[in-house]
């Protein structure tokens, strides 16, 4: 079970969280102005990164807040968690245990 640091509550076990898919995929401000291709991309295309992956989590059985996390998909190590609206931290490597 992963140990996840909620930016609002601190470290909590994974069972308190809900996974929310890849992060930083913004809904277009005016979807009408978006091409079919761009909208399809928004709906269905995801990075599936091997390595650092920015993803959304929600502390659903805690404070209820959404936040973003940078997780290494190979090791499952979290490099950072950060609040919605903040930029993806400038990191290229996972941390060692």
């Amino acid at each position: 079970m992963l140990l996840i640091t909620c930016p609002f509550c601190g470290q909590r076990p994974e069972i308190e969280f809900a996974y929310g898919g890849e992060a930083h995929i913004a809904r277009a401000a005016d979807p009408r102005a978006t091409s079919d291709e761009a909208w399809t991309e928004y709906l269905y295309v995801r990075g599936n990164a091997r390595g650092l992956h920015a993803e959304r989590w929600r502390h659903i059985r805690g404070c209820g807040r959404f936040f973003n996390a940078l997780r290494d998909t190979v090791t499952d190590h979290f490099v950072a968690t950060y609040k919605m609206g903040e930029a993806r931290p400038d990191r290229t490597e996972g941390k060692q245990p």
Partner: protein
């Protein structure tokens, strides 16, 4: 003492506590401190099971968790019976009843042993190869036979009477294994101030020290040092010591699963006390001190009862005071077997020969054996053994210039083997730590860890007791986080000299390889020949060889077999072992009974049950309930003598002609409040909300961004800034999560609060032409006349004296109200309304009637008519879309190609069978040409189908391709035994004008 093979003194067994037990119905004696295995050996019993595939007689091979053969079923009755327990791990208790497995009728005379004579027909990949024979052969001949013959223990026939507990724990340092390395680790960590949990799979802590009779540590005999160390650890409040506790799984972020056996499978006189406890331990640091496991040698017929691992035999002598036999042949490639030979010799076992695979073994151990007069034969192999239910002789053959010479037959009742030791890296590998091949040790040892873990002792490759203690203490010290500050602790150890050697793979035997069986994996009956066959058939990856031959895939996880299998692959392919690599170690390290994982979640506690405030009333009334998610909902209320159809017909009639009362409390409810509440709903739902006036209701439809319906429900505007949103019964958590998602991540600019109120409101639907007459006298603070309270309006008022939100809404097509009152008052208000309804003929109705009534009106149920691929237009809800809105969730997707009505989409229609009495099955398909050969062209499927008492015929709803254009067409529904003709109609079967909504 009845045990003929028990030594007169020594060992850790208590001769003052004799015990009695049965094995396969026969009574034996044992001593406190025995395991089932040691007690059987004390009675001269080696034969304990039949093998998985060939039903070969098998004996006790080891003294620990690695045991592949000695699996037994234990328990006084079916409710306490546990199969597949490892006899070397279960402590003996008085009255224990154990039975052998996978044999019929008895261990000695087993009908399945015919497989042994047919062994040539069961090669590697046997199961896969049978798939290529005619299907009939598999289903009629092989599968039933294999199911009857292969396998381990049987499942108990009664529910488990035992209880299991579960707990979470946190610590600074978790030490896995309480041998010398683990104890030194725990000591170091505890002395440094850390909170420590130390667990060990055995009932006694000490690991290898329990069988250590020669070494001295810090001036104390090893077992005295053990006692002193345990006492010292026990004195720390911050140390938790868990014997009989297996660390079975290493999960991410240093979560380790422990299975603690609390009773040792004793008689459990008190079933209320737990038998076992599952621990989920989150540790800052984990020290793995899991020891090492001795390898068998792979030689022909190496699986007869009486053939054991050498160090295990020594453990039986030193720890359990048991002689495993009278006359032993030792076969080894490692010095440690000489230590075993000397121990057995001292105990009075005749050593007939020590056959050493090595050309010129030398060193202190060999010298000691020779000095004791033991016959050492260098450069010697075993080319075969004799004996049926017990080994009776070994054939020793010299090896010269790589050739195996003539064998000499030596009689014996015990063969001890040692191919060296494999560090136990299972848990480290489970944690995704990288393994590294150590050529000197000829073993995989831990490399870079993936978690905050440290390895210590023999599992890290330490070979002497001194190194084991030192690496253990160092690991404990580091784990406690005080590295560099604490003093380096030195243990003064006087111990036996370093032992060396080892062998991987199959030994040379000089016989026709096609005619011999040398077992690599005892539990899954895999031979060296099977592995070579897999390689000959083209398998190269060790993972494929493993799956094809099943080597290492039994419940023992290949603890004794994996490295030898790897050695055979390496030799056959001519590639070094590091190039071949290892297979992945998976949890559990040893089998864990299901009860540990189920824990408290059984019976009524298996899943939460959600009951509405009115549940008790319905139960007292004799309602039949159905499960809707976790909710219990009243399905119908049968009167005496009524079946469901009769009850539903009566309930429907009451609603259509008088009035019915229905518990709708399970509806999801969300309160949306704030200055931007209307804007929030505008962006989310397809409907337009801005112009909805306080006091009015609107039917809302919610899509996903891909344009498909995900939920629906009636929304009431209570005030300018306050909405009462209802969702489907199952959809409330999902809808609230979606709302929170958009609010927090896409539109944080909106000032809105969301609150789940599902369980705060009880909802009582009063439906039917008399609904207003029933309610009006109970309502205060609102005028519910048709003029002042039209359809789709809401009033805040009192009903039966209780504050209420009164909805005028209908899911039946009749005049209707839904009374929302605080849940605590739900039953009282229900009873008041029910009493007030008596003069009007009020009838309680359930979900089945609700379904029929709504289907007669063509009202959809999300999840029944829709399946995640339906747009609002598809199900006739295009009218709900606020066309002028620039955007809402799903709007952009609706504009994509293929989403428009003319795109041959499945659309909602009504279906009437030609035979009015025939009720279609939901899910049935509709086709245009019933004569078409399968696969037929499916035009659509039936989504809802009921008997309508009101219409005196069956009705159905269906989703059909371009269904709106096919109204009036005749289609066909092919069923198993016949084809039914149907006509497509409008989906509204009753009161299409909607005139009854006003009563």
């Amino acid at each position: 003492m009845s045990e003929a093979f028990r030594l007169p003194d020594g060992g850790r067994v208590d001769r003052a506590q004799p015990l009695s037990f049965t094995f396969d119905g026969r009574r034996y004696g044992g001593l406190a401190g025995d395991t089932i295995a040691s007690a059987l050996l004390a009675n001269g019993v080696h034969l304990v099971g039949r093998s998985f595939k060939y039903h070969r007689p098998r004996g006790i091979v080891s003294a620990g968790a690695e045991e592949p053969n000695a699996l037994v079923g234990v328990g006084r009755d079916e409710a306490h019976y546990t199969p597949n327990l490892v006899a070397t791990q279960i402590s003996l208790y008085d009255g224990l009843s154990a039975v052998s497995q996978n044999r019929s009728p008895s261990l000695e005379r087993d009908a399945g042993s015919i497989n042994d004579r047919l062994w040539r027909f069961f090669p590697a990949g046997f199961y896969y190869k049978t798939f290529m024979w005619p299907r009939r052969a598999w289903t009629r001949v092989f599968e039933p036979r294999i199911r009857a013959m292969a396998g381990l223990g049987r499942a108990p026939k009664a529910p488990d009477a035992a209880r299991y507990a579960q707990r979470y724990a946190h610590c600074d340092v978790l030490v896995i294994g309480a041998g010398p390395a683990g104890l030194a680790s725990a000591l170091a960590a505890a002395e440094a101030g850390a909170r420590v949990i130390i667990c060990d799979e055995q009932s006694e802590l000490g690991g290898s020290l329990l069988a250590e009779t020669e070494a001295r540590i810090d001036g104390l005999a090893a077992q005295d040092w053990l006692a002193a160390t345990l006492a010292r650890l026990g004195a720390f409040d911050r140390v938790t010591v868990l014997p009989r506790t297996i660390a079975f799984g290493y999960f991410p972020h240093n979560m380790v699963g422990l299975a603690q056996d609390l009773t040792g499978y004793q008689g459990e006189p008190d079933d209320a006390a737990p038998r076992g406890r599952l621990w989920q331990v989150r540790a800052k640091q984990v020290v793995i001190a899991a020891g090492a496991i001795e390898r068998p040698l792979v030689f022909p017929d190496n699986d007869r009862p009486g053939i054991m691992l050498a160090d295990s035999a020594r453990i039986y002598v030193e720890r359990y005071a048991v002689k495993p036999g009278r006359r032993a042949v030792i076969f080894t490639a490692h010095d440690e077997a000489y230590r075993a030979a000397l121990a057995l010799h001292r105990a009075g076992v005749e050593i007939a020969a020590i056959a050493d695979l090595r050309g010129a073994p030398e060193g202190a151990w060999i010298d000691a054996a020779r000095a004791a007069g033991l016959p050492v034969r260098p450069a010697t192999t075993i080319s075969g053994t004799d004996g049926q239910l017990r080994v009776s002789a070994a054939h020793l053959a010299p090896i010269a210039d790589g050739k195996v010479g003539r064998a000499e037959r030596i009689e014996c009742d015990l063969v001890l083997m040692s191919g060296g030791f494999t560090p136990s890296v299972h848990l480290f590998s489970q944690s995704r730590g990288k393994l590294r091949f150590d050529p000197a040790l000829e073993a995989f040892v831990p490399g870079a860890p993936a978690e905050a873990s440290l390895m210590a002792g023999a599992s890290a490759g330490a070979q002497t007791l001194e190194a084991t203690l030192a690496t253990g203490y160092d690991a404990g010290d580091q784990a406690a986080g005080v590295s560099g500050t604490a003093q380096v602790r030195h243990f003064a150890v006087e111990a036996a000299p370093l032992s060396r050697g080892g062998f991987l793979g199959a030994v040379p035997h000089g016989r026709d390889p096609a005619s011999v069986r040398a077992f690599v994996d005892f539990q899954n009956d895999v031979t060296a020949k099977d592995i070579k066959l897999a390689l000959a058939e083209g398998f190269r990856s060790i993972e494929h060889v493993k799956r094809y031959t099943t080597t290492g895939m039994a419940t023992d996880q290949g603890k004794t077999s994996n490295m030898n299998a790897l050695g055979i692959v390496s030799e056959t392919l001519g590639r070094p072992i590091p190039e071949i690599g290892t297979t992945t170690f998976r949890m559990p390290y040893t089998p864990v009974p299901f009860g540990y994982f189920a824990g408290y979640a059984r019976g009524e506690l298996f899943e939460p049950v959600r009951e509405t405030p009115i549940h008790g009333w319905a139960a007292e009334r004799g309602a039949v309930f159905e499960d809707v998610g976790q909710w219990k909902r009243a399905r119908y209320f049968p009167e005496p003598g009524e079946d469901m159809r009769a009850a539903v017909a009566r309930e429907c009639r009451a609603v259509r002609e008088a009035v019915g009362i229905f518990d709708a409390s399970t509806l999801g409810k969300i309160e949306i409040v704030g200055p931007d509440a209307a804007e929030f709903l505008n962006r989310l739902y397809v409907n337009a909300w801005t112009k909805l006036k306080p006091g009015r209701l609107r039917y809302g439809v919610l899509l996903r961004e891909d344009g498909f319906i995900v939920d629906d429900g009636v929304v009431g505007r209570i005030a300018e800034d306050r909405f009462h949103v209802t969702t489907t019964t199952g959809g409330a958590p999902r809808v609230l999560a979606t709302m929170e998602d958009y609010l927090q991540t896409e539109w944080p600019d909106l000032n809105v609060w969301l609150t789940s109120t599902t369980e705060q409101w009880a909802v009582i639907a009063v439906q039917g032409p008399k609904a207003r007459d029933v309610l009006a006298p109970l309502v205060e603070g609102a005028d519910i006349s048709a003029a002042s309270m039209p359809h789709m309006s809401v009033a805040e008022c009192r009903v039966a004296g209780v504050p209420a939100r009164l909805f005028r809404v209908s899911f039946t097509g009749e005049l209707g109200f839904e009374v929302n009152v605080p849940a605590e008052y739900g039953r009282a208000v229900w009873e008041t309304i029910f009493a007030a309804g008596q003069p009007h003929g009020v009838v309680p109705y359930g979900t089945e009637t609700m379904h029929v009534l709504r289907a007669e009106k063509g009202y959809i149920i999300v999840g029944q008519e829709t399946d995640g691929t339906a747009t609002p237009e598809d199900v006739g809800l295009g009218w709900a879309i606020g066309k002028a809105k620039p955007d809402f969730v799903g709007k952009r997707a609706l504009a994509r190609a293929g989403m428009a009505a003319q795109d041959d989409r499945k659309q909602l229609v009504g279906v009437l069978t030609e035979e009015p009495g025939f009720v279609l099955e939901e899910g049935a398909h509709l086709v245009a040409d019933p004569a078409q050969k399968p696969p037929m062209t499916m035009l659509g499927h039936v989504t809802s189908s009921y008997w309508s008492a009101k219409l005196n015929r069956s009705i159905a709803l269906a989703m059909v391709r371009s269904g709106r254009d096919r109204l009036g067409e005749t289609l066909h529904v092919p069923l198993a035994d016949r084809t039914v003709r149907v006509t497509l109609t409008e989906p509204v079967f009753y009161d299409p004008e909607g005139s009854r909504l006003d009563g």
